[in-house]
């Protein structure tokens, strides 16, 4: 079907190294005109690199790019833009204090001197209606939602007459509804014979929206094939290069016995109420998921539960003990564990070694001391145990943790936080930005903890993850729990609606 379309560009044996890291190795694939093409792979598989080569941000060490059938060198983004290639980066490149139309024309003003605002607006409006964009051209960027900011980025490309649009992880920050609307627009663009390349690691989006897919693994383009020939499992296997281990849901036959009781928890900062009357309980062996778009009070809820924010009203009872009197360190000694939301910000200390990171939060434990001093032998021993049981690589305890991949760093965090008896585990975005292999490992491990009786609160922006693991799901919107559903009653559509403030059924 799609093979009828002529090829618009292709890579031939592209190799690119950074310092000593091989980012792309002999990558060859082609993309047909007027299609939505997915480039999929784990973090570090080289998918962003290859597309940045097309956009002229990197020069390949060897290999050629063929553009409309002819070999073509693209030394810089200016050349790429003149060829009609545009890219929306993962982090938007917009000026927050300028309006939408100002951002769109920025760098490509129709005239150097006076701006004819009326004619610009007219031109932009026709673009808007043609592709179904709803964004207000006169609004300031800072007042827009992330979804609308993304629309501005795409409009920017269309204004520059781009025919090939590269989107790097476009859905990472979007709610399910916004994802839907994004792909509707992309379909309209496709109808107008534009070619769209999406870089992503989300299997579902690839399967439901693309025409063809290139799978990348360890810098190589493994295969390019039509999406219709794939299933979620077969695609995942191609990405990780081996069979996937199915999750093993063990029955946990625990009497409902609350481990954590949150009653009427409220928190305000500078007269803004951040959390409003939040109440819930978590039982032994139960996983409760909190769905919600980031910035709706998740961070503050984590801070309260972790014992670092004390200016709240209401009560939080952990194992029959009010946590208000307990410091963050005390809490950790009483069976509370935290997988913090941001690995680099809160989870690990990057300049520290693996061994030093392995004792964070339990560094006053007499078990790792000899006399008044920390015993480096005992610490190394402890770290080696964690490294072994979680298969962390490279597993040299004295090595700096900065040299590990995100997945391995996260494994160390999970290993550290669950090395002791855990009665309540607060896992915030436990698998953000890590590869499928590590995700599967961590999910499986969570289920094992659950079977042992750990109560768990799972906060994640990935609905898929929440739906997969939770027994019960709470939806947090503007600091309030707006909905509560059991696992088997929950649908992605309803959750998405609640997450964005839609009314309850």
């Amino acid at each position: 079907m799609e093979s009828l379309n002529p090829e618009v560009f292709s890579f031939k044996n592209i190799t690119k190294t950074f310092a000593s890291v091989l980012a792309n190795h002999e990558v060859s694939f082609s993309v047909a005109e007027g299609t939505i093409h997915g480039v999929v792979g784990e973090n570090g598989a080289g998918k962003s690199t290859i597309m940045k080569i097309l956009y002229g941000m990197f020069e390949p060490d060897s290999g050629t790019i063929h553009f409309q059938g002819k070999p073509r060198s693209i030394p810089d983004p200016q050349t790429a833009i003149s060829l009609g290639i545009g890219m929306v980066h993962q982090h938007f490149m917009l000026v927050p204090t300028l309006t939408v139309w100002e951002n769109i024309i920025l760098g490509k003003e129709p005239s150097k001197w006076l701006l004819d605002k009326a004619s610009i607006l007219k031109q932009l409006k026709s673009l808007k209606t043609k592709f179904g964009f709803q964004v207000d051209l006169e609004a300031k960027i800072e007042s827009l939602s992330v979804g609308h900011q993304q629309q501005v980025e795409i409009l920017k490309l269309l204004y520059r007459k781009a025919n090939i649009l590269i989107l790097d992880e476009p859905t990472a920050v979007l709610s399910p509804q916004e994802v839907e609307s994004l792909f509707e627009k992309l379909k309209l663009l496709k109808k107008a014979h534009k070619t769209i390349v999406i870089i992503t690691h989300k299997l579902k989006e690839i399967l439901s929206f693309t025409d063809s897919v290139t799978v990348m693994r360890q810098g190589k383009a493994i295969e390019t094939l039509p999406t219709s020939s794939l299933t979620e499992d077969s695609l995942a296997e191609k990405i990780i290069g081996r069979k996937r281990i199915p999750l093993n849901f063990e029955k946990s036959g625990f009497e409902p016995e609350p481990v954590l009781k949150v009653a009427s928890l409220s928190l305000s900062e500078a007269h803004n109420s951040i959390l409003r009357h939040i109440s819930f309980e978590i039982n032994r062996g139960e996983i409760v998921g909190i769905a919600g778009i980031e910035g709706n009070g998740q961070h503050e809820l984590i801070e309260v539960l972790a014992g670092v924010e004390k200016n709240y009203s209401g009560t939080v009872i952990l194992n029959q003990e009010n946590i208000k009197e307990l410091s963050a360190y005390d809490l950790k000694q009483k069976g509370f564990s935290l997988i913090p939301p941001d690995r680099h910000l809160e989870g690990v200390i990057l300049p520290f070694s693996l061994a030093e990171n392995a004792i964070l939060g339990h560094h006053r434990d007499p078990q790792i001391k000899s006399g008044p001093f920390l015993s480096s032998t005992k610490i190394t021993q402890l770290a080696s145990q964690l490294i072994q049981s979680f298969d962390i690589r490279p597993g040299e305890p004295s090595q700096s943790i900065a040299g590990l991949s995100g997945g391995n760093q996260q494994k160390l965090v999970v290993a550290r936080e669950t090395a002791r008896e855990v009665s309540f585990l607060l896992a915030a975005h436990p698998t953000r930005g890590i590869d499928i292999g590590a995700i599967d490992f961590i999910h499986q491990y969570f289920l094992k903890l659950k079977a042992q009786g750990t109560a768990m609160l799972l906060i994640s922006s990935e609905l898929e993850e929440i739906l997969k693991l939770s027994d019960r799901i709470l939806v947090l919107y503007r600091g309030e729990i707006v909905a509560q559903v059991l696992k088997n009653e929950a649908t992605e559509k309803d959750l998405g609606l609640w997450m964005t403030g839609g009314s309850k059924k």
Partner: protein
């Protein structure tokens, strides 16, 4: 010693010293001075007993202030206040001796050490308190506390503690039992002339001991771990129950106490009184020492030795030359600091220069 160990810890500082030496040579030539005096001056700071004695005498306070600054750096804090803290520490010893002049040595000496640490530490604690509890920026606070502290100590020297028998702005002498032996006493006992007539005294050993304690504290205790964790990643520290305010208070108090120990070297070790302007900016040079040592307590010893020898060498240059005064040391130290502070930039320059050789 493994080669990469050398490369990691010593190559950078060594290159910095070489560049600094070249630039100073160029400067001397520009000023119409024979640059060979530079070599002459600096060999004399190490290779004769007299020169070495003075070098070590200057090294001692720089170890204390270097440690003081380095300790704060580990907690992510800038201690610009070592100068004020060391003034307070020295004044503390004078006050103690004026109140208890006749204590036997086994009381006076430990109490002297404690007094200097207490008064210096208190001055540090004020900065720590303002930072931890009020959120004031420690750089501003410590700079301002320097003004207050130094002026206050000068007031003590000029009024309550003044030796009215002399014209000079200096205090009364401390009691005999507070005197610390110069190292020349020991070498003379062994029949050697090493360190003869130089002021280097047993405080040197105290400073080396302090460096060792700091090293053990920072890298081998749970509290030291907390301090380093706080300095490297405050949010991770917070989520793991490491209190920023407790540790800030502690670190500033300890830093003040370390700076205060400078008073031991000056007052109990050599002058036996406090003279206005006794510190040739040991507190500020301590920042450079810590920077050069990359905040490693044992590295501080070596860096302090370097800056001590520059300081001594500059005095020697003044003696040898008619044109150059000892302030040349400030120029040399400044060049060193610029090179060390810009090391990231310089090493990328060097990398680019030799890029082709580095490929394999």
């Amino acid at each position: 010693m493994k080669p990469h160990f050398f490369k990691k810890y010593f190559a950078g500082p060594l290159i910095a010293v070489l560049i600094s030496a070249c630039l100073t040579t160029a400067l001397l030539i520009c000023l119409g001075e024979n640059p060979s005096i530079l070599w002459e001056a600096f060999t004399s700071t190490f290779f004769n007993g007299f020169g070495l004695g003075y070098t070590l005498y200057y090294t001692t306070p720089l170890i204390f202030t270097g440690l003081s600054v380095a300790l704060c750096f580990h907690a992510g804090l800038f201690n610009i206040g070592a100068e004020g803290q060391l003034h307070l520490g020295a004044a503390g010893i004078i006050a103690l001796s004026l109140f208890f002049p006749g204590l036997p040595w086994y009381f006076s000496i430990p109490l002297g050490v404690i007094a200097s640490m207490l008064t210096g530490g208190l001055w540090g604690l004020i900065a720590g308190f303002l930072k931890a509890k009020r959120g004031s920026h420690e750089v501003i606070v410590t700079i301002l506390l320097n003004f207050i502290g130094i002026t206050f100590v000068n007031y003590l020297i000029l009024y309550p503690f003044k030796n009215t028998q002399v014209q000079n702005p200096e205090t009364l002498e401390i009691g005999q039992s507070y005197f610390l032996s110069p190292l020349s006493d020991f070498t003379a006992y062994l029949g050697s002339e090493l360190f003869r007539t130089t002021p280097v005294n047993v405080t040197l050993f105290l400073s080396l001991f302090a460096a060792l304690i700091c090293y053990l504290f920072l890298f081998h205790t749970a509290r030291g771990y907390e301090i380093r964790a706080l300095g490297q990643n405050p949010s991770a520290a917070r989520f793991n129950g490491i209190s920023a305010s407790t540790n800030t208070l502690l670190v500033f108090t300890l830093a003040g106490a370390l700076s205060g120990l400078v008073g031991i070297n000056e007052v109990m070790g050599f002058q036996h009184k406090l003279i206005e302007g006794f510190s040739p900016q040991y507190g500020f040079t301590g920042i450079a020492v810590a920077l050069m040592a990359r905040n490693h307590p044992l590295g501080v010893i070596l860096a302090a030795l370097l800056f001590g020898s520059i300081h001594n060498g500059a005095r020697e240059i003044e003696f040898l030359s008619e044109k150059i005064t000892k302030e040349i040391s400030i120029v040399m130290e400044a060049i060193l600091i610029i090179i060390i502070a810009g090391q990231g930039y310089f090493s990328s320059l060097v990398y680019r220069l030799f890029k082709r050789d580095c490929h394999d």
